[in-house]
């Protein structure tokens, strides 16, 4: 009996190791953690595997004994109950042995953790700010910053009953308009914070996940080994569109990264120039439509009809057909406690001018107004006072630093 028990235990233990391994081998990306592309992510992955196997063995051992007993000690097989109900020796053994196993798990875990928490020697810093529902990236050493949000096509497809064929997207819900671009081989320090509610910036392949807490900054870091595109998601419930807040990291070799930085700076210069010049009405409406599609359509809807009871229509809206002042105020500073947020820092003057012009001349609105970037600028200057005294639970800190 002892022998057959031993054999049963061994068999179950063997299965418990072989089966998961087979499964893991075949289905890697839908059933197990990614190995990732940083030293940390590889350590985490192997730690994960180690503890997983240990748990499998423990489980298998316990279940094997139990099922053997269920099989052998059943009344229908004529088993007579024993009467023992105590044994200090085994009690001590099965307290000490698990304890020892735990130490065996805690040791490597502590080592990895200490490595993760070593922030020293970073070579560049990116500040990441979570917004409902987009990310803002700020390259602190480069004077580059931009927003990143769910790609417009995905955004349209994910609307309820959109009827869009999802299979056409290779990375459904994991595509953004502006990816975070990073160089490989550098220790990059991330500073996490949020503008409204808690978010969490998570890229599995980098084994980086940190809560972005409004008013506080959290740190972590990554050193990416391989160029590639790495996708992740916001990992802390942050309201309505929490599920639609992806993260995409594009890791480039150093030279390509440098080229990207140069491009980005050039772009910024053009944008600055754009903001200085006079735009044509047509150009503003055309640009404004794009801005609208990327930023406003989620709430005010494609035809500007809004969602009654939740988001007001732009079509025929008093604001979009009324005083320009009020319209600027609404879009730049948002509306009190409503989901209508302040866009003054999120869009630049040209984009703001364009989208406002668009709203005033689309969806059947026919004000004929043309708003120039310079109008937005002078509105801003006139309004500096009110910006500075804008207070409230969520907006009391200087979230975007620059601007």
């Amino acid at each position: 009996m002892r022998r057959s028990l031993l054999r049963a235990v061994m068999a179950v233990v063997a299965c418990s190791l072989v089966l998961p391994s087979l499964a893991l081998a075949g289905y890697g990306d839908t059933i197990d953690m990614t190995t990732g592309v940083t030293e940390i992510s590889r350590s985490v992955h192997s730690l994960h595997r180690t503890i997983f196997y240990i748990c499998c063995i423990i489980g298998a051992g316990v279940f094997a004994v139990m099922f053997y007993s269920i099989f052998a000690h059943r009344k229908s097989r004529g088993a007579k109950p024993a009467t023992f109900h105590e044994s200090t020796t085994v009690e001590i053994i099965w307290t000490i042995v698990p304890f020892a196993i735990l130490i065996g798990m805690a040791w490597p875990a502590a080592k990895v953790l200490i490595k993760m928490e070593d922030f020293s020697g970073s070579e560049m810093t990116v500040k990441i700010t979570g917004y409902q529902w987009r990310w803002h990236y700020d390259y602190l050493d480069e004077d580059i910053q931009f927003y990143s949000q769910l790609d417009a096509a995905h955004n349209a497809a994910r609307q309820r009953d959109s009827g869009v064929e999802l299979e056409q997207f290779e990375h459904y819900l994991k595509e953004v308009d502006n990816a975070l671009v990073l160089p490989v081989g550098k220790k990059i320090r991330f500073l996490h914070t949020a503008a409204d509610v808690i978010h969490a910036w998570w890229v599995p392949a980098l084994a980086v996940k940190k809560d972005a807490i409004p008013g506080f900054i959290n740190e972590n870091w990554a050193k990416i080994d391989e160029p590639g595109i790495y996708r992740g998601k916001c990992a802390e419930l942050c309201g309505r569109d929490h599920g639609f807040m992806p993260v995409v990291v594009r890791a480039l070799p150093q030279d390509e990264y440098d080229a990207w930085v140069a491009d980005k700076k050039a772009e910024a210069t053009t944008a600055k120039l754009d903001a200085q010049r006079e735009w044509s009405h047509k150009e503003l409406v055309a640009t404004g439509e794009g801005v609208y599609q990327r930023n406003c359509v989620g709430c005010h809807q494609a035809e500007g009809q809004g969602i009654p009871g939740m988001f007001p229509a732009i079509a025929g809206s008093d604001v979009a057909n009324g005083s320009l002042e009020k319209h600027l105020e609404t879009v730049l500073h948002g509306v009190g406690d409503s989901p209508m947020q302040a866009y003054s820092t999120r869009l630049n003057d040209s984009e703001l001018a364009a989208v406002i012009t668009f709203q005033r001349n689309a969806f059947g609105n026919t004000t004929g107004d043309t708003i120039q970037p310079s109008d937005v600028r002078s509105y801003r200057n006139g309004q500096m006072q009110s910006l500075a005294t804008d207070t409230g639970y969520f907006s009391n800190f200087n979230v975007t630093g620059a601007n």
């Binding site: 503890i51 059943r74 109950p81 009953d161 509610v197 959290n218 419930l237 929490h242």
Partner: protein, 526 residues
Amino acid sequence: MSTAEAHHDDHDHHGPAPGFKRWLYTTNHKDIGTMYLLFSLIMFFVGGAMALVIRAELWTPGLQIVDPMFFNSMTTMHAIVMIFGVVMPAFVGLANWMIPMMLGAPDMALPRLNNWSFWIMPFAFTVMLSTLFMDSGGPAGGWTMYPPLTLQMGDSFAFVVFAIHFLGISSVMGSINIVATIFNMRAPGMTMMKMPLFVWTWLITAYLLIATIPVFAGAVTMLLTDRYFGTSFFSAAGGGDPVMYQHIFWFFGHPEVYILILPAFGIISSIIPTFARKPLFGYDSMVYATASIAFLSFIVWAHHMFTTGMPLAAELFFMFSTMMISVPTGVKVFNWVATMWRGSMTFETPMLFAVGFVVMFTIGGLSGLMLAITPADIQYHDTYFVVAHFHYVLVPGAIFSLMAATYYWMPKWTGNMYDEKLGKIHFWVSTIFVNLLFFPMHFVGLAGMPRRIPDYSLQFADWNAIASIGAFGFGFAQLIFVWVIIKCYRGGEKATDQVWEGADGLEWTVASPAPYHTFETAPEIK
């Protein structure tokens, strides 16, 4: 029962009052227990229906059925209903029914208070569920209600907070009653170390409740004042911290999860010896293990917060302390297996559910252990791996223990045997589907699917479809359960006093169904 004291002669042998007054005014622990159990059964279907909304939406990628906001309020309300409306009241119901009988007491220590503890529940849940019908919708910030997100909620927020206060009053009063009953109402000779384990685990659970529910009440009170009175507990601008809420919440929240499992341990510790026809192995160590789990549960809370940016030393501390809980929990599992070892086992429905509990709870416990490993948890956190973990300990854990308890004690409650065949079918269907439902969640979680999302990437489609099939299968299997209960209530083979061949304990010495009043005169304890 015939040697009653003079001064309540007139009340003696007095049965239940007629009509609805019996239920409204009752001070009888059995009536109150029954009401608690029925209430939680109904709420199980309410919370389950919400889960089915979730699973229906998640059946395939894309948003088909509900708005994301409504989805969030479904997950939130599902969890609140299941925890506060199903598992907790069900355990209190069992405590009401069984503890006085197990101790040889005439009733609970404070029968009127007992009535109140129950009759708060329906009112409190009316407040809670009514928020779903308000313009601003129900709570949608997760059952953990983290600020600042929760503070963005509309008008219904105040009602949610008050419903929690209301429920808290019920829980604390109920727990105080249980503590007083256990310490003060034992029959002569029923020493502490002779008490059935169900009583022990409840005693310790009651302490967890008394110690943590008020902390939870404090936390939501601070949310309320932040929202309506301009305090800044959880706002950095005013010198507070959103993470402070998380610390206070989890100081309650972690012991809470043991509140949801310790009485289950007690139930399983009653059932296994009965059907193994062998005394429980290691009674003393079971008691000490329960106490250790309860003690440890107060110093592990921040394992829910490994990504919030705690200092390294804190992360290490909470990792180690959390891992330690596996030791006393392991002792329990080993003791159950040792109880079965060389027993003479039969597998009636309660035993099936108990064995299912041991296996699947252990799976859930082991994944909990994996979550405790901080560097790995940073990857697991807020993914479906966590969802898989806690459903394994809660559904085939806590819920299975409740089903085991129902089958085990139902003959004592109704006087009739339940339909064994249906019971077994119920077990097997539930077990198969519950694994289809929750096992794939481990996979998608590890592969990177976050929790609390109404829509997901295509790579997770297959496993989610399987989980949804499992959910509907498991859900509808519970209709069998309801049918078995109704059938058993209506009639069936008469149960003997002892009911089960191997059953041992005072509750099995009284008639089946248990008379309205038991042990008005204390029994002799050998």
